[in-house]
């Protein structure tokens, strides 16, 4: 994979996703119904990338769509759940049939692996998972070691450096300085750009460098760690992107209603992935749905 060489890193979603190869390990920002860069997930589907390994902290509807399309072979992470909307049925069917491997870690376990990857350490340790049945399933990446000072047992979690990460931010300039309103709470945003070989960020808005310099405390990812910027307003829809918009409840409910049925599930995925760009996608979703997710403060 090579980085775009122009001074402006602003590219189309298609050009950004073209940086990804079949078989890549892709870390995707995701916290259940929060903050999934769905514009890029839809582009992964449009591009038909195959044999992907996915890492997320709490994978949600995005991994379910990729699973239904048969594009993933492995999930490396702690949980796959759409929170109040329940299990991801396509992903679950894929694991139960043996088509998808679920390489399961605790949350500190996967974060330790990424932290080691970020800092070029061979491993990072955790006290999590001790006594559970997880380490026995993770012989290649989790080993018990002794604290050399006290002899206490801890688990060494092998460094993980995914090929690429997909993130969504509030704004970025053309150089790639990516800002989150009020900083960021999400663990994946804090660790992925440091651990992954390539960072692709969608943003609500591309802004000038002057706008970025007005609020440097909101720059979470420095430009040198960003390889591609894609403008995608409401780029996390149907998931939420705090504080701008909440998750689309009706959309998730429609997905839950069809997601056990291969024909209906693929029809819904294909309908929404048919849009050539984000503007076309928002036309499919409709202004009313976008207004509803934007007005969440009044409903809260």
């Amino acid at each position: 994979m090579t980085s775009p060489s122009t001074t402006s890193k602003v590219v189309s979603a298609a050009d950004a996703i073209a940086l990804i190869n079949d078989g890549d390990h892709v870390a995707i920002q995701s916290m259940g119904t929060q903050g999934i860069p769905m514009a890029l997930v839809r582009e992964l589907i449009r591009a038909g990338k195959r044999d992907l390994t996915i890492t997320s902290v709490v994978a949600g509807i995005g991994i379910d769509w990729l699973a239904w399309k048969g594009q993933i072979s492995r999930f490396v992470g702690p949980i796959v759940s759409m929170e109040r909307f329940g299990l991801c049925q396509g992903f679950r069917a894929g694991v139960q049939s043996g088509q998808i491997v679920f390489e399961e870690y605790s949350e500190t376990g996967i974060l330790a692996r990424l932290d080691a990857g970020a800092r070029s350490l061979p491993f990072q340790i955790t006290r999590g998972m001790i006594g559970t049945d997880l380490p026995a399933q993770l012989a290649d990446t989790v080993r018990e070691i002794e604290d050399p000072f006290t002899g206490q047992r801890v688990l060494a979690c092998r460094a993980l450096k995914p090929d690429v990460c997909l993130l969504h931010a509030h704004r970025a300039d053309a150089k790639g300085n990516a800002q989150y309103e009020g900083g960021t709470i999400w663990p994946d945003v804090q660790i992925y750009p440091k651990a992954c070989g390539l960072t692709i960020v969608t943003v609500e808005q591309v802004v000038s460098e002057d706008v970025v310099r007005e609020r440097p405390f909101e720059t979470v990812i420095p430009h040198f760690a960003v390889d591609a910027v894609v403008e995608a307003p409401y780029g996390c829809h149907p998931t939420s992107f705090f504080p701008g918009y909440v998750y689309d409840e009706a959309f998730h409910e429609r997905w839950v209603a069809v997601s056990r049925d291969p024909v209906a599930a693929l029809a819904m995925i294909d309908e929404h992935c048919a849009a050539a760009d984000q503007a076309a996608y928002l036309e499919i979703v409709g202004r009313e749905a976008i207004a509803t997710v934007s007005d969440w403060r009044e409903q809260a």
Partner: protein, 267 residues
């Protein structure tokens, strides 16, 4: 509940009150996904006996003041008017792992066994070809191993939830019982189980699940029949779970959860 008499409260309200009693004024509490009863309980404790109980709403919002319990316990409406938004990688896990703070966690598993081990990973004996793939650990496999005091809750007290032995240990309880947990160097562990039928704890020597109190109108036999292993029943008898008083009911119904989001756990 007895079918004959209306006790003036429902089982969800009884469970909220029972969970609220597990928190002390000096505690810090945090809630995870789809945790409507704990969210109600933490707020009830803060409004009654534990005004200084710290709450990290959705593991993000410090001492949040939501107008009501929203349809999701892991989304921004729950973080309303927080004193701080806690960054999860650098801050949240450091405060949790430190040991000084956030010493109690409410946890739930698809299966819970006699020794308080919980499973949220797979149903079936073949981990790689499971009968049912459950959502996975999230932080559960951490909380059982890092010295936390675990408060289990479940709204489905039956033989599918309470099993002799979990198919997979996602959350370390007392493992095989006795001192097995101690021998691994693990501190803390399961302390209380609040179900829709009763309250249970763990017998100090064997670490086997023990009946503490049955909810009003529920018999010991009924609890035992709904449990997939023999519960320890104390020789000096089993009490009755203390019902919520009028003020607690008012707080739950009018102040904390007027939209009755807590009933989502009984769907």
């Amino acid at each position: 509940m007895s079918p004959n008499a209306d006790p003036g409260y429902s089982v969800d309200e009884l469970m909220v009150a029972a969970l609220a009693r597990q928190f002390e004024d000096s505690d810090q509490a945090c809630n995870g996904a789809a945790s409507f009863l704990p969210v109600c309980a933490i707020q009830l404790a803060r409004a009654t006996h534990a005004p200084n109980l710290v709450w990290l709403a959705g593991a993000v919002g410090l001492d949040a003041r939501p107008r009501r319990v929203p349809a999701s316990t892991l989304e921004s409406p729950l973080w309303h008017r927080s004193a701080m938004y806690m960054p999860q990688f650098e801050d949240f896990w450091s405060y949790v792992l430190n040991g000084r703070w956030l010493t109690k966690f409410c946890v739930r598993g698809a299966q819970i066994d006699r020794f308080g081990n919980a499973n949220n990973s797979v149903i079936g004996s073949d981990y790689h070809h499971p009968k049912v793939r459950l959502p996975g650990s999230a932080g559960l496999a951490d909380m059982g191993s890092i010295g936390k005091r675990l408060i289990f809750w479940t709204t489905t007290h039956n033989q599918r939830t309470f099993v002799e032995k979990v198919d997979f240990i996602t959350c370390a309880g007392y493992l095989g019982g006795g001192d097995e947990r101690d021998r691994l160097g693990l501190t803390g562990g399961p302390e209380v189980v609040v179900s829709d039928l009763c309250v249970m704890d763990f017998e100090p020597q064997s670490k086997a699940m023990r009946l503490v109190s049955v909810h009003p109108g529920v018999s010991v036999e009924q609890v035992q029949a709904a449990t997939g292993f023999a519960l320890v029943v104390p020789e000096n008898g089993v009490g009755e779970t203390e019902p919520p008083d009028a003020e607690m009911l008012r707080l739950i119904r009018e102040e904390i959860d007027p939209g009755a989001a807590r009933l989502r756990e009984f769907a």
